[in-house]
């Protein structure tokens, strides 16, 4: 009997946390279903590119993807932009309370009318600021040009700090920093290290102000059409892959932070509790400003899940 083939396409290299987790899922899916399912992983955009993969999944041309959460806003699920809000999560505990809890499920449900079934959230990590000047307080970012991912929420975040957002493709960031097209940027340590950004930035402040992550999604029609036992086994494989993905993402960020410090090219500054609070106070107003776009309801639900109360800040 022919195995059921799941084409799992992604846009990053094989040896990144996401790439490794995809391979891990492929292996476990084969084992748990006893060969009834064969997961073919296509790395590096060989099958579909960043811009087209979600639409390809919707028409059923590919079964499984792990796009960055930023992809769901343009799809019409603006609620997903909640993940771009600065200081919406204080730490991994807050984050997982949302992604692995009821709110996460409700967010994934927003994708179903669009023919997509969300299976899991995979972490990349928390973002830090890098620039060519020390940043101990929010005012230190004022007037600087910061590269952001194309996102209306991140644009507002930078404007709130008095900085000037410039949306640039990820692949262009290194050169833009090197030539001074922009002064700074925000990313998790692992992205900074793999793109060698620390070579052209003198300072990093570990603000951990924002989150970068992925969602593993499948074509809904395909998923609902699977035999129930197979679906259960795949869910188990996905659960294991998610734990694996999150743990290696965290490990990679920790390792790359050490490597950046060891390189001696960038000073890594960990703000004190009071300094971090100042950043948080400066940035939390972005939540209110973006309320009409993202939805007050979803922001409130996240607050409830994490126990955050902006009025008590």
């Amino acid at each position: 009997q022919q195995p059921i083939v799941i084409k799992f396409s992604h846009v990053v290299a094989q040896d990144t946390p996401k790439g490794l987790a995809a391979e891990f899922f492929a292996k476990r899916a084969g084992e748990l279903t006893k060969g009834k399912v064969k997961v073919e992983v296509y790395a590096n955009s060989t099958l579909y590119k960043d811009k087209e993969e979600v639409e390809a999944l919707q028409v059923g041309a590919v079964q499984m993807l792990a796009p960055s959460l930023a992809k769901f806003g343009p799809l019409g699920a603006k609620e997903f932009e909640v993940f771009d809000l600065p200081y919406i999560f204080d730490d991994y505990k807050d984050l997982h309370a949302v992604t692995q809890g009821k709110v996460g499920q409700e967010l994934m449900a927003k994708l179903e009318p669009r023919g997509i079934k969300g299976l899991a959230f995979w972490d990349n990590g928390f973002k830090v600021f890098s620039a060519n000047n020390p940043m101990k307080k929010p005012e230190d970012l004022k007037g600087k040009k910061f590269r952001i991912q194309s996102s209306k929420v991140l644009e507002e975040q930078m404007r709130t700090l008095g900085a000037l957002p410039q949306a640039l493709a990820f692949s262009e960031v290194y050169q833009a920093l090197q030539t001074g097209v922009v002064d700074g940027q925000e990313n998790p340590y692992s992205n900074i290290y793999t793109q060698k950004m620390h070579e052209v930035q003198s300072h990093i402040t570990e603000t951990n102000h924002g989150y970068l992550g992925y969602a593993v999604i499948v074509n809904k029609k395909f998923w609902d059409g699977l035999p129930a036992d197979v679906r259960g086994q795949l869910e188990q494989a996905m659960k294991e892959a998610t734990d694996y993905a999150n743990s290696i993402a965290k490990k990679k960020n920790d390792e790359d932070k050490k490597a950046i410090i060891a390189s001696g090219k960038t000073q890594v500054y960990v703000p004190t509790a009071a300094e971090r609070l100042a950043f948080k106070k400066a940035l939390v107003p972005v939540h209110k400003k973006m309320e009409s776009r993202i939805g007050a309801d979803i922001i409130k639900q996240v607050y409830d899940a994490t126990g955050f109360d902006p009025s008590k800040l």
Binding site: L47, K49, K51, E52, E55, V59, A61, A169
Partner: protein
């Protein structure tokens, strides 16, 4: 088996003479309708997203820039400058032609455009000066091929699109081989002229040379704009292409005043026409390579070749032969777009550098453009000189032989291509 059916179908359709883009597209559709369960909607999606990439947009920009340069008097001034520099040596205007082609290649991304720009001015002048028509045709047809090796290069953009290799690194990798090939072609020209005692130009005085340089200066500056801009990171390659189009427009209309504002719409339309044709091939080639990837054909081929013990030397030899054969029937963009996705995974598995592999493909394309039955440069030269293809074929052979020797050098000496981009820290 599937791979076999796909290729036979493609070959069969192509030989009926229908446009290559259409044969690619029909092959994909036939395959999707009969042999696989990939939803057809993905074809529609790919038809848009296949070219939805900023890097690809360098192609229309470079074509537009090339047209402004050709019509705007830049080519003319480069020829005068080149002739003033080397015209008094054996080979005279011919040697000037090689240099002018190299200079023009450094601002234009296409080979046929280089042949048109330099050839349509220089070839009649050479005949008037007493050169046999064959000699001039041979020089310009082959030197024009420098257009895709010396950056900028549309074919390199195509390779980068097909393999996700950095355009900037490819451009830099083309510089040294480009200069070397220009030198080789120059030596061949000089030798043939010396042996047959062809006419030489009177030696230009320093003042004349300086004046020729001053006249050509604004055109030559474009080399700085494009290469300097990309190298310093001021522009991405696509932005550099757009900047060079605007710059060429300003030079042609306001500095050299060889072009009127009224002629602009026509040039825009012609550029759009040519660009659309290339983008249409790209679209369908992307679709074709998508179907192959989806069937895991390149991956399977890579495994076969790697396990066959063919090795790097044997593989590269095979690549050269296949590409030279393909060069008999198709034009470069189609060849690169069809073959690069198949050959690239094998090259990577064998540890060949992607940038070196790209330069190797480009040099193969250069050779293919200069020999019959299909060779764009030949067609263009035939259009200019009104010589038949058979006669032209005889005319180009000394230079073609030189190019083949050069091809071997590029193939088995990676450092020739890789030293500069490596020195600049781009790879």
């Amino acid at each position: 088996m599937n791979a076999f059916i796909i290729f036979v179908l493609l070959l069969g359709l192509m030989l009926t003479g229908m446009p290559i883009s259409i044969s690619l597209g029909l092959t994909v559709l036939t395959f999707l309708f009969t042999m696989t369960n990939v939803p057809l909607e993905s074809v529609a999606l790919k038809l848009f997203t296949g070219i939805e990439k900023f890097e690809i947009m360098a192609i229309p920009f470079f074509i537009l820039a090339g047209n402004f340069l050709t019509h705007g008097g830049v080519a003319k001034r480069m020829i005068r400058f080149a002739t003033a520099m080397v015209g008094h040596w054996y080979g005279g205007l011919g040697l000037g032609g090689v240099l002018a082609c190299a200079l023009f290649a450094a601002v234009s991304g296409s080979s046929p455009a280089t042949v048109v720009a330099i050839g349509s001015i220089l070839l009649p002048a050479m005949v008037k000066a007493g050169f046999p028509p064959r000699f001039g045709a041979g020089v310009i047809t082959t030197s024009g091929a420098l257009g895709i090796l010396i950056p900028p290069s549309i074919v390199m953009v195509m390779y980068s699109v097909a393999t996700n290799t950095s355009v900037g690194a490819l451009f830099m990798a083309g510089v040294v081989p480009g200069i070397l090939l220009a030198f080789f072609l120059g030596v061949t020209t000089w030798y043939r002229a010396w042996k047959n005692d062809y006419p030489r130009q009177p030696k230009a005085s320093m003042a004349e040379r300086f004046k020729a340089f001053k006249d050509a200066f604004w055109g030559l500056m474009l080399i700085v704009v494009v290469m300097g801009g990309i190298y310093t990171g001021l522009f991405t390659p696509t932005e550099a292409a757009a900047m060079s189009a605007v710059y060429a427009f300003i030079i042609a209309v306001f500095v050299y005043k060889d072009m009127t504002i009224a002629s602009i719409p026509k040039i825009l339309l012609n550029s759009a026409n040519m660009s659309a044709m290339l983008l249409y091939i790209i679209t369908n080639a992307v679709l074709f390579s998508f179907v192959m990837t989806n069937e895991q054909i390149p991956q399977a081929l890579a495994d076969i070749i790697v396990n066959s013990g063919l090795g790097v030397i044997g593989f590269l030899l095979a690549v050269n032969i296949i590409l030279l054969v393909a060069g008999n029937f198709m034009e470069p963009s189609s060849i690169v777009l069809i073959f690069a996705p198949i050959m690239f995974p094998i090259a990577i598995k064998l540890g060949i550098d992607p940038v070196h592999f790209g330069i190797l493909m480009v040099v193969n394309m250069e050779v293919g453009m200069c020999h019959p039955p299909v060779g764009l440069n030949l067609y263009v030269a035939s259009g200019i000189t009104k010589m038949g293809i058979t006669e032209l074929t005889v005319a180009v052979w000394p230079w073609l032989l030189t190019m083949l020797v050069f091809l071997v050098l590029v193939t088995y000496w990676p450092a020739l291509s890789l030293a500069l981009p490596r020195y600049l820290g781009m790879i």
